[in-house]
Amino acid sequence: MSVQVTHDKTPGANGILGNLFTRAVGSFEHACAAHAGFARWYEKSFYRDVVEREESMAELPQQAHVLHIGAGRYPFTALILARKGHKVMGIDHDADAVESARRIVRAEGLDSCVKILHRDGTDVDCRDYDAVWVSFHVHPRDVILERCSQTLSEGSTLIARIPSGLGRLAYGSCKADIGEGCRCDSFKSVLVVKGGAADTEALAPFTLDRVPIDQEVHVVEGNGHPHLEPLGIRAGKPVRVCARMPVGGAVLVDIDGRKVALGTEIARCVRCRRSMAVD
């Protein structure tokens, strides 16, 4: 399997703005490291939701082994995952950050579950992990992502945080093309890549109710409604969404020229795949 991640170098990407941004993140984590109460509040009110959402996309098994690339000065993600019973290996290429992170892990009493190593992300080996998190600000992201997806083992998941909105201005956008054997999906700012052959457990759903109008996708799996297969909504079939009614109305799809209307609830349970993932 292969994942080609091409980095779209918009002018200014990783330039002054990118630098500023990285610095801002750095000092924010610095602040967190210094004020435990603030960090805890931030973790509870914002970060935990993000990680929980990613965790559900990754469909982690119990006590999973997780690698986090770019763990940072204050390893929020690692801590949150560790509190959920997972074993986390965090790496960062900044020696200072590693020092600080270790201190915090110890202070939180989680050093049996979280290890922090000083390592570069470009030559990691993801084989032994159930899931790999790649931070937002890792550099060079395209190399790291490619390396990860090459070493990701079957059934494991890569969760890559992708710049969106303002972040994209700073870091440039990311275009990923997934090849044979991978399933890929993107949520606003997260890229999910599932390693392994196409018949492994599908990744967190990218469902029919969210397919843009007039885009063609391939059905991965119906939802067990016995009318879907006879109507052509079955694995491997190309479908096109022709219209979507407003406010939770039906989705109209076209399969080989046959038109079928699906209620949103039904469409939400039809999983699809497309070759292009992120823009």
């Binding site: 016995p226 109507l231 039906a250 038109k259 079928v260 609830e265």
Partner: protein, 575 residues
């Protein structure tokens, strides 16, 4: 050979492939046909004569997408299959053969002797496909026939094959493996090839199809369609009444009847009951034939246009989001619309809905606040002359009550929320002859089943009136009818009669010289008041007797409650 019980030939196929059309061709009957999935919800049997005398029983079954039935209509079909028919006609749609093919292969796998019928080949040819039945027949090892039910092409061939199959050497059921979609698609490819010289996509009708179903301009167009439909129902109905039926019935037929009776029956109570002011041979004939029949005709004309064009599933898709708020799916709109014609087929049509909860909700909504066309005809007669606003007001109340009922039932009934999975058929131009046949069938049905009960009802009313029994009855109902509803005592009679025919709750109010407010109250009570006895028995059969009773009780209570409340509220404003 003729004393053998006649062979049973079952038509099985996905919805909307033309099974009922084929059934009608084979048996000469007229089962309901229309261009949306789920027209047939109950099986129908007919006889087909065989070559050497004797006959075979042909059975039209509801369409089904698979043999794991998802709804009540599909269960009818699987049950029929389980009763091991002598021959299964597996009907496929030439435009999209794989669905029906899979089903037929599944039936073969279960050991049924099958003949495949590829219907609607005219449509497939028009779209640029060539159909090769020989190739498919060689591949699956059973006869494959091509037909066009619409034009009758290939029907003789079907007859011949049925004949062959049921007389003498019965075809060995060709045992098949459990079908899978890959092989089915391959076989469909064997059957159907693209020739490339068909009508290309992007034609006018194709573009219209797109426009009708996109939110814009689909929604505004739907409103326009509903408005035009209403306009035609009311306009054409009034025209028919004014220019055809009134001159024919009231001015020509009734005087003859009256003078005939007068020459035989001496003046007295009996004559009054027969041809007096409210006699059953005067009003009893005039009301149903000039007040209701015209709207039956105009309504079913519009409904068959909507059914045959294929617009209804589009409406269902458009409205699904709104119906979801009521815990229903867009598919519920079909039975509701049918209910504006007659409640009985409407309640039957709920069989295509997936969950029992949805069926029950829609059926209750129909019973509570969907007036059948006979009642609507009566409303128009009663209210349109007083003021068109009163008429619109009653319909606004009907719609409001439907929404309320949906919301309340959504709260109290348990069960999973339904989801819409609806195939959107091709738009077809309805054929006038087919529409006229349908209208005629409904009109005939009304003449046979509707007129006599109304005459009897009017006779009963006249009897009660002429004999003075009304005074006795009136005393008992006085507090409710006069006190609470503000109607004259005589209005108790229509309420009694309403259980037999819904229009009878309204029609007798016509000649009571009521004020606009009383008319409105009477109409509201009539709207909510009990479903007719025939509907109740269908309810009991489709659900349970207790449910019919609950609906009977609730609608009665609602009728009096709403009638009384609205009278009071409106009279507050009028003072």
């Amino acid at each position: 050979m003729t004393d053998r019980p006649s062979s049973r030939v079952l038509l099985v196929g996905p919805p909307n492939v033309g099974k009922s059309v084929l059934f009608n061709r084979l048996t000469g009957l007229s089962a309901g046909v229309s261009n949306y999935p789920g027209t047939t919800v109950e099986f129908a049997e007919g006889q087909m004569t065989l070559e050497h005398g004797g006959s075979a029983t042909v059975i039209d079954a509801p369409g089904t997408y698979s043999l794991q039935s998802k709804n009540e209509a599909e269960r009818v079909t699987t049950r029929l299959l389980d009763s091991s028919p002598d021959l299964v006609l597996g009907v496929l749609d030439a435009l999209r053969p794989e669905t029906g093919l899979y089903l037929a292969l599944d039936a073969m796998n279960r050991g049924h002797p099958v003949i495949l019928v590829v219907n609607r080949i005219d449509l497939a040819r028009e779209r640029g496909y060539a159909i090769d039945v020989k190739a498919l027949s060689d591949a699956v090892g059973v006869p494959v026939l091509a037909t066009s039910g619409a034009s009758g092409l290939g029907i003789d061939d079907v007859r011949r094959n049925i004949n062959h199959a049921v007389s003498g050497e019965r075809p060995r059921p060709a045992r098949m493996d459990i079908p899978n979609w890959e092989t089915t698609e391959c076989l469909a490819g064997v059957l159907r090839r693209e020739t490339g010289d068909g009508r290309h996509r992007g034609t006018t009708s194709e573009r219209l199809e797109d426009l009708l179903i996109r939110p814009w301009p689909g929604f505004p167009l739907a409103l326009v369609a509903v408005a035009i439909s209403l306009g035609i129902v009311v306009g054409v109905g009034m025209g028919l009444r004014q220019y055809i039926l009134l001159p024919l019935i009231r001015d020509t037929l009734l005087p003859i009847v009256a003078s005939g009776v007068q020459s035989v029956v001496s003046p007295g109570v009996l004559r009054e009951i027969m041809v007096g002011e409210y006699g059953f041979l005067t009003k009893g004939i005039e009301w149903p034939l000039t007040l209701v029949l015209p709207y039956v005709v105009s309504f079913y004309f519009v409904l068959s246009f909507l059914e045959d064009s294929g617009y209804l599933p589009r409406l269902a898709a458009l409205i699904d989001g709104m119906m979801a708020r009521l815990g229903l799916s867009g598919a519920g709109i079909m039975p509701l619309l049918l209910g504006y014609g007659c409640g009985i087929p409407a309640i039957m049509a709920t069989r295509t809905l997936e969950t029992r909860r949805e069926r029950l909700t829609v059926a209750s909504m129909i019973c509570l606040a969907v007036p059948c066309i006979a009642q609507t005809g009566a409303f128009i007669a009663l209210l349109a002359e007083a003021s068109i606003f009163v008429l619109l007001g009653v319909f606004a109340i009907s719609i409001g009550a439907l929404i309320m009922a949906g919301m309340v039932l959504g709260k109290i009934l348990r069960g999973t929320k339904p989801g819409l999975v609806m195939e959107i058929p091709e738009l077809l131009l309805p054929r006038v002859s087919v529409m006229l046949t349908k209208v005629w069938a409904r009109a005939k049905h009304y003449l046979m089943d509707g007129v006599v009960p109304v005459m009897l009802g009017v006779a009963f009313a006249a009897l009660v009136h002429e004999t003075g029994a009304i005074d006795v009855v009136g005393r008992y109902v006085q507090p409710l009818v006069t006190g609470w509803l503000g109607l004259p005592e005589r209005a108790a009679v229509p309420l009694l009669l309403g259980i037999f025919r819904r229009e009878l709750t309204v029609l007798p109010l016509l000649d009571m010289d009521l004020t606009a407010l009383q008319l409105f109250t009477g109409a509201v009570v009539g709207l909510f008041y009990v479903p007719c006895i025939a509907m109740l028995s269908v309810l009991a059969k489709e659900f349970r007797a207790s449910i019919a009773l609950i609906i009977l009780g609730t609608t009665t209570a609602m009728a009096f409650l709403m009638g009384g409340l609205l009278t009071r509220i409106i009279s507050l404003f009028m003072m």
